[in-house]
């Protein structure tokens, strides 16, 4: 199946980046919504492809679709956080280890220290947001590249995981397990609490990015930092806030991940920052910042999730095809972006 995915993306990429003299094609290429539409189309095509291939195995059931949200709720939240950072022209590599740290931290507090979950949740979110704030502070005030600062964050949080415990801590707390098993019925199927939280975060991010002053500032800084500064926008505050949002989202994603597998492990979510960045890029957010949609990120996450579930349905394909397919998709979308931006410049 992933072979068909590959050819399909290649075909999409070719049609989109073909330098056709027709003005309609040029207009299409200049449209900032194009990457999102391509991703949505890709998702639809993959879904229909899966439907025709695995119809007899229950692929068509609504629950299979809803499971995409349940199984990828944490990735969606993390990717939403990463969208803010990438939109502002930065990058956050600490997402994966912050998720791992949050699972470890909550598992340790709940299991070893016996604190109630209701106290631990705000604590974990606070720690994540504070970590993001610190990174943003250093990035802005000392003008060090975001890449290297968040790299230090990656080391730090992964290290702190190991300092808490080298072993995995499983969570047997009754509140956690009952929360993890709660399903909300939607008529056609059901969603977990994690999926609902993720959708709420998505909606909030949509509102913040498109309808608030803060959201416009994020776009402006990503578009051109110098112009944003000359316009009198509070550069430092916005930048620090963006990394704080990313830290908060990572911590929340960590909580959802903890709920999803009910344990804390120092090796949880290794490399998830790459999945999050890949989802954002596939979702059509420009890596140089300033252009993109948080809804695109949703489609990016869904496409990655669909690859996973198609590989599961196929049965004979091994898990590493997920990585290869992700890499191929990433490459195709980066090339589309490139074609778009060069078009705009000339």
């Amino acid at each position: 199946m992933s072979a068909t995915t590959k050819t399909r993306t290649a075909a999409e990429g070719r049609t989109a980046s073909k330098p056709a003299p027709a003005s309609a094609a040029a207009r299409l290429l200049g449209d900032r919504r194009l990457p999102v539409l391509v991703t949505a189309g890709l998702f639809l095509a993959m879904y229909i492809g899966g439907l025709s291939r695995y119809q007899n195995y229950g692929f068509g059931e609504p629950q299979v679709f809803l499971n995409l949200f349940i199984d990828n709720s944490y990735l969606l939240v993390a990717a939403v956080g990463a969208t803010f950072v990438i939109m502002s022209g930065g990058i956050d590599l600490s997402v994966g280890s912050l998720i791992g740290f949050t699972t470890m931290f909550t598992a340790w507090l709940v299991e070893r220290q016996g604190l109630p979950l209701l106290l631990v949740i705000p604590l974990a979110l606070g720690v994540g947001a504070f970590g993001g704030f610190l990174m943003g502070y250093v990035i802005h005030n000392f003008e060090i590249q975001p890449f290297i600062v968040t790299l230090a964050g990656l080391f730090l949080f992964r290290g702190l995981c190991l300092v808490i415990s080298k072993e995995s801590i499983s969570i047997s707390d009754s509140t956690v397990s009952s929360m993890a098993q709660t399903r909300v019925s939607l008529g056609l199927g059901e969603l977990s609490i994690g999926a609902i939280v993720a959708l709420v975060v998505l909606a909030a991010a949509f509102y913040i990015l498109h309808y608030t002053r803060f959201g416009r500032r994020v776009y402006a800084i990503g578009g051109n930092e110098q112009s944003a500064l000359l316009m009198g926008l509070p550069l430092g505050g916005t930048k620090i806030a963006v990394y704080t949002v990313s830290g908060f989202c990572s911590a929340l994603a960590g909580l959802l991940f903890m709920l999803y597998i009910q344990s804390g492990d120092p090796l949880h979510a290794v490399g998830m920052e790459l999945d999050a960045i890949a989802a954002v890029v596939i979702g059509g957010t420009l890596l140089t910042g300033g252009s993109g949609y948080v809804l695109g990120t949703l489609f990016g996450v869904l496409v990655l999730g669909l690859i996973k579930s198609i590989i599961q349905f196929e049965g004979t394909l091994s898990s590493w095809w997920t990585k290869i397919a992700t890499g191929v998709l990433l490459c195709a979308f980066i090339l589309i972006q490139r074609a778009m931006t060069t078009r705009k410049q000339t």
């Binding site: 290297i148 964050g153 300092v163 790459l274 997920t322 290869i324 890499g327 990433l330 980066i334």
Partner: protein
């Protein structure tokens, strides 16, 4: 009376101003930390015709990192970055080991050389792809190399079929775990690569071209330097170094692990380059500094083992080192912390010039 008083500080000053002073000082300090815990830390003894000792093992275990970091230095000098080296390490090891394991006679020299050739060619192809994306398509280096970082591990697992391939080949074992002239063979490999790199970059104009591309790619192109070609070459060289490191790692363990070989080595390599004083903005580089930086990281790891700090704090230490080094390199941080202090103390004598000059010099050097 007054002459020595003047020359000593100036010589001291010249010494501290040397770009290798701080990396070397950190390395020596780290080595000295070991002495109270293991009194015979610097002792090197002879056993079975091999040299043994902590210093030898630091160089032995650090050699893949030195190789990767040397390649990374040139990439960073052009203002880029290569995240894919870890995946390249895995791919090279996987291809070479799977080819050797298919041989009837795993000790046949021809087969081993062919296998290594295949592995290194694959590595160079990866580098060519990275360079193509960065130089021809104009994609940011972090993102362009992210593609192979994500997909490459999948490819490596595809080659090994998700298994850990073990081999039993004496000639292949030599590269990463063998001895030659009483020293680990890998030390000679590293020395050769470093010597060739230094000769190519400092004895020819190549190093200057790399620095000028990193300083300003567009300006270099306008004065007639083929900056695209230089960039592609640099990425290929970096991948080749990573490939050799991959051979070394897989040979040392006699196994190829698509999932874990070279995991996080890209981060360690970037760290080594930064410690060595190469600016992440590009435009200048120091191979010697990078080698010392890589040794600092390996010594840090060894020290954590020997002084009995729980090994899991290793990453926290590394994070602290990254932050401290980056803060010290940041002109703005130094202006805020040291600059203010320096300006206050030297203000009566020479108003404000040293505080201004110091950060600028660091940037332009």
């Amino acid at each position: 009376m007054s002459t020595p008083a003047v020359t000593t500080p100036s010589r001291w000053r010249a010494l501290t101003r040397h770009h290798l002073f701080w990396p070397v000082a950190v390395l020596i300090a780290l080595l000295l930390v070991n002495v109270p815990f293991t009194p015979d830390f610097f002792a090197i003894r002879m056993a079975d015709g091999h040299l043994y000792g902590s210093l030898v093992s630091i160089v032995l275990f650090g050699s893949p990192l030195i190789l990767v970091a040397v390649g990374m230095t040139l990439v960073i000098a052009t203002g880029g970055i290569d995240l894919s080296v870890g995946a390249v390490v895995a791919i090279t090891g996987a291809l070479t080991c799977s080819y050797i394991s298919d041989q009837a006679d795993q000790n046949a020299l021809a087969g081993v050389f062919l296998a290594m050739g295949i592995g290194l060619v694959a590595a160079v192809v990866c580098g060519l792809w990275n360079g193509f994306l960065v130089a021809r398509m104009g994609i940011q280096p972090i993102i362009a190399t992210l593609i192979i970082m994500v997909a490459g591990r999948g490819v490596a697992q595809l080659i090994t079929d998700g298994q850990i391939i073990t081999i039993n080949s004496e000639p292949y074992k030599l590269i990463g775990g063998g001895y030659w002239l009483t020293l680990p063979f890998s030390i000679f490999v590293v020395a050769a690569v470093v010597a060739v790199t230094v000769a190519l970059t400092r004895r020819t104009a190549l190093g200057l071209l790399v620095e000028s591309v990193g300083g300003n790619a567009e300006a270099s192109r306008l004065v007639g330097i083929r900056s695209r070609r230089i960039k592609i070459m640099v990425y290929m060289f970096c991948a080749l170094c990573a490939g050799i490191a991959g051979l070394m790692i897989s040979s040392n363990t006699s196994a190829a692990d698509g999932n874990n070989a070279g995991l996080w080595i890209e981060l360690d390599a970037i760290l080594a380059v930064v410690i060595g004083g190469t600016s992440l903005l590009g435009g200048r580089f120091s191979i010697g500094g990078t080698v010392i930086g890589a040794l600092v990281i390996q010594t840090l790891t060894t020290t954590i083992y020997t002084i009995g700090v729980p090994t899991q704090t290793n990453l926290v230490f590394k994070a602290a080192v990254v932050i401290v080094v980056c803060l010290l390199q940041s002109p703005k941080f130094r202006a805020k912390v040291f600059g203010a202090k320096g300006a206050r103390t030297t203000a009566p004598a020479e108003p404000a010039t040293p505080a201004d000059a110091a950060p600028k010099m660091e940037v332009s050097r």
